[in-house]
């Protein structure tokens, strides 16, 4: 297990975006951009059932989350770990993220099942701290 320093955690608590790396069925890497959060133990992000990312993570939960300071591209934290997906609390979580990133609440989309992804850091690399 690995831990984030307070300064590294702050990067995740501020409204910086993260790139998430997952593994496609053939093992090749896939990158997407997400809103991100930190609960003191896990990196959290949110997605919707049926998308590429959760399908990849359900098959192979190994993941990277890389967060760059939007004011300084030379300050970043990369977390590698294992993802756990759950629908429980996912709607409340996407609403919290929406408030953090947009200042307004989340507008649920009909038929969309949100998923909360929790990543426990196994390895942390950082730059610019």
């Amino acid at each position: 297990m690995a831990v984030l320093t307070n300064e590294q955690a702050r990067l995740l608590l501020e409204p910086n975006f993260a790139t998430v790396g997952t593994l496609n069925p053939d093992g090749s890497p896939q990158l997407t951009i997400v809103w991100v959060d930190w609960d003191g133990e896990h990196v959290l992000f949110n997605t919707a059932a049926g998308r590429t990312k959760p399908r990849n993570l359900e098959r192979d939960p190994r993941v990277t989350v890389l967060v760059v300071d939007h004011e300084d591209g030379y300050r970043w934290v990369a977390v590698r770990g294992t993802a756990e997906l759950t629908a429980e609390g996912a709607d409340e979580h996407i609403d919290r993220l929406a408030r953090k990133y947009t200042g307004g609440g989340w507008q649920p989309k009909p038929g969309e099942q949100r998923l909360l992804v929790q990543v426990r850091p196994e390895h942390v690399s950082a730059y610019g701290f």
Binding site: G21, L23, G27, P29, L31, R62, V63, L66, Y74, R80
Partner: protein, 134 residues
């Protein structure tokens, strides 16, 4: 195969925006880091040094993905994935070019005589983007 549009290529080539690159560790798990990035002649390129993790990983498994995000507008981004080629030829000139692009300097200021620079060229197999309205 996929192709970058002119606007996607310019977005990468003409702005000092860093790229997130993901490679594969020997156990197949992903490894992500930040690089300076460029695009030309239909390929996306970055520069590293021989012996670094991503260079070693790419020699084992040449599959990579890279994403460049506008630092002031995260809803504009380009993501490219595909196989890479590694070459030391021209890699010193490339790191100088990247130093100009990112730092405004004619020469890469952190050159280390003990390291060999290497250029990584990603041939786009898949291109995704947002914020280009095309």
């Amino acid at each position: 195969m996929a192709q970058l549009t002119d606007r996607q290529r310019e977005f990468i080539a003409e702005n000092p925006y860093v790229g997130s690159v993901t490679t594969l560790r020997p156990d197949g798990s992903p490894h992500s880091t930040i690089v300076w990035v460029d695009a030309d002649d239909g390929v996306v390129t970055f520069n590293t040094a021989v012996g670094r993790a991503k260079e070693r990983y790419l020699r084992r498994d040449p599959r990579a993905a890279i994403m460049v995000v506008h630092p002031d507008n995260a809803y504009q981004w380009v993501s490219v994935s595909g196989p890479v080629e590694l070459t030391t030829e021209g890699a010193d000139a490339q790191i100088d070019h990247l130093a100009k692009k990112y730092l405004g300097k004619d020469e890469y200021p952190w050159r280390n005589p003990e390291e060999t620079r290497i250029t990584v060229r990603i041939t786009p197999e898949k291109v995704d983007s947002a914020g280009f309205d095309e």
